[in-house]
């Protein structure tokens, strides 16, 4: 599929002796904002690492922007933010950005641009170690925005943030998607799901649902996202998962 930013087919990941992703197949359309949701331990981070190409022991197809995941050419086209802020604590925000932008040849103007989009211009010369939790995760996000990558893979970017900041970030994600960037954003806060174009619900290394937020509510008959996910996760015994699609339609 040419217009898929991410295409996986029978993606499996083994960690040690355990298989943690069991044959995952899905497509993320270019320019869409896709939420990756699921309880903790469901394999969200492993899936994201496989897409970014830093996960070992991956089998099956993982294509990103038309190339095999982890290809050298993707290093300037994919921005990745891990759960823990991956920035240097003993540098200022601007020094961090300058360093990472030198790899992407992004330039000073781009540094100012990402500072502005993450609302960190005022703190730019502050040491990262002295930042609040919210500022820290935005600093890590700012690095990923450098060079305007075509695909952003964000692992729980809003965790631990206050509601106002979370709103701001989701507004930013929406703006990025409207400008053509594809975003895959993981979260375990279900009310954030409604802000996405599509949802991938992961449980125990398998995809439980892959559809629009509206479609999900309709299918489960639930009033809100929280209830929909509870309905899917709790009340579906694992052995019925395979038949789920047919059953839910009836």
């Amino acid at each position: 599929m040419v217009n898929s930013a991410i295409h996986t087919d029978d993606l499996r990941v083994r960690r040690g002796k355990r298989e943690v992703l069991h044959g995952i197949s899905f497509d993320v359309p270019q320019g869409s904002l896709v939420g990756l949701l699921g309880p903790s331990g469901s394999g969200k981070t492993t899936l994201m690492r496989a897409i970014v190409g830093v996960q070992r022991n991956v089998t099956g197809v993982v294509n990103v922007l038309g190339h095999a995941a982890g290809s050298a050419i993707l290093r300037r086209q994919v921005g990745y933010v891990t759960q823990d802020a991956s920035v240097y604590g003993d540098l200022t925000i601007r020094q961090n950005l300058n360093y990472f932008s030198s790899m992407l040849r992004a330039g000073r103007a781009d540094v100012e641009r990402v500072l502005e989009s993450t609302d960190l211009t005022e703190q730019a010369n502050q040491m990262v170690d002295s930042l609040s939790g919210g500022q820290l995760s935005r600093a890590s996000l700012a690095v990923a925005l450098l060079g305007s990558p075509e695909l952003l893979v964000l692992d729980e970017p809003t965790v631990g943030l206050d509601p106002v900041l979370r709103m701001d970030l989701w507004a930013l994600f929406r703006r990025l998607a409207e400008s053509g960037t594809t975003l895959l954003v993981s979260s375990h806060v279900m009310d954030e799901a409604t802000r996405c174009d599509r949802l991938l619900l992961l449980r125990d290394g398998e995809i439980l649902a892959d559809e629009t937020p509206a479609g999900l509510l309709e299918r489960t008959g639930a009033a809100d996202a929280d209830a929909a996910f509870l309905a899917l996760i709790r009340h579906r015994p694992k052995h019925l998962d395979a038949e789920f699609d047919g059953e839910a339609a009836s």
């Binding site: 040690g16 190409g53 830093v54 982890g70 991956s86 920035v87 020094q95 360093y99 990472f100 790899m103």
Partner: protein
């Protein structure tokens, strides 16, 4: 690998260190203080002149080893290493950035240690002080390079702490500090020939006594440089873009 990115990484490491004056002070002064302490302990004996050159190899080597392995371990743990590996920068650029930044500090550190030893603590050097400086600097850079390599095999601070006794102490014991290498049992002598610190100590002793020619010193220096290059290359090979 690109010079631009290597220097970008070097500049980044130096900026980090600049924000931490205490580390700079420790790096630059501690070896000299230890050598001074040794000179004081053996003030009225000829011992300091016998072990002084070896100690000049040992302290900067050890301190650079510890500081470098700790710093790079921290980078592995905070996720900044993984982030760099997802970006267009070579693995060798990352490692060389560290090697150059800490190498620069090693130059100053070894220079200060040589200056203190010779002019303040009265270490008698019959040969050229420039040779002494060159070998001491190479030796401190060797500590950096081995520290970079060692950190690849550590996942926790506790493991790094174990590398001191595992990597450094054997080299110290077999390097000729306690007993001249040629007086050790044959097997140990053969082993010590394969440890880089032995060659640094040999060379520094030779300079102090002025009992070898330049070709000998150059050979020893090249052996140390070969270990430095080997450790850096091996260190970058052990960096993996994909991890379990």
């Amino acid at each position: 690998m690109s010079a631009r990115l290597t220097f970008a990484a070097t500049g980044r490491v130096l900026t980090q260190i600049r924000h931490d004056p205490r580390t700079i002070a420790l790096l630059l002064i501690v070896p000299s203080l230890l050598i001074g302490l040794l000179a004081w302990i053996f003030m009225d004996t000829p011992v300091f002149n016998q072990v002084g050159p070896a100690v000049l190899a040992l302290f900067p080597f050890t301190i650079m080893f510890v500081v470098t392995s700790m710093t790079t371990l921290r980078e592995r743990r905070t996720g900044t290493l993984e982030r760099q590996l997802t970006l267009p920068i070579g693995k060798l650029d990352i490692i060389m950035g560290y090697a150059l930044a800490f190498g620069l500090l090693a130059v100053f550190q070894a220079g200060i240690a040589v200056g203190f030893s010779v002019w303040l603590f009265g270490l008698e050097i019959s040969g050229s002080v420039w040779w002494l400086l060159a070998i001491a600097v190479a030796d401190a850079v060797l500590g950096t390079a081995l520290g970079l390599l060692a950190s690849a095999f550590a996942n926790t601070e506790f493991q790094v702490a174990q590398f001191m006794p595992a990597f450094v102490f054997p080299q110290m014991l077999l390097g000729g500090l306690l007993l001249p290498r040629d007086q050790m049992p044959d097997v140990l002598y053969a082993i010590s020939d394969w440890l880089p610190l032995s060659h640094a100590i040999d060379a520094l002793n030779a300079v102090a006594r002025d009992d070898q020619d330049d070709a000998y010193l150059l050979t020893k220096l090249l052996i140390i440089v070969a270990f430095i290059v080997g450790a850096i290359v091996l260190g970058s090979v052990t960096l993996k873009r994909r991890t379990p």
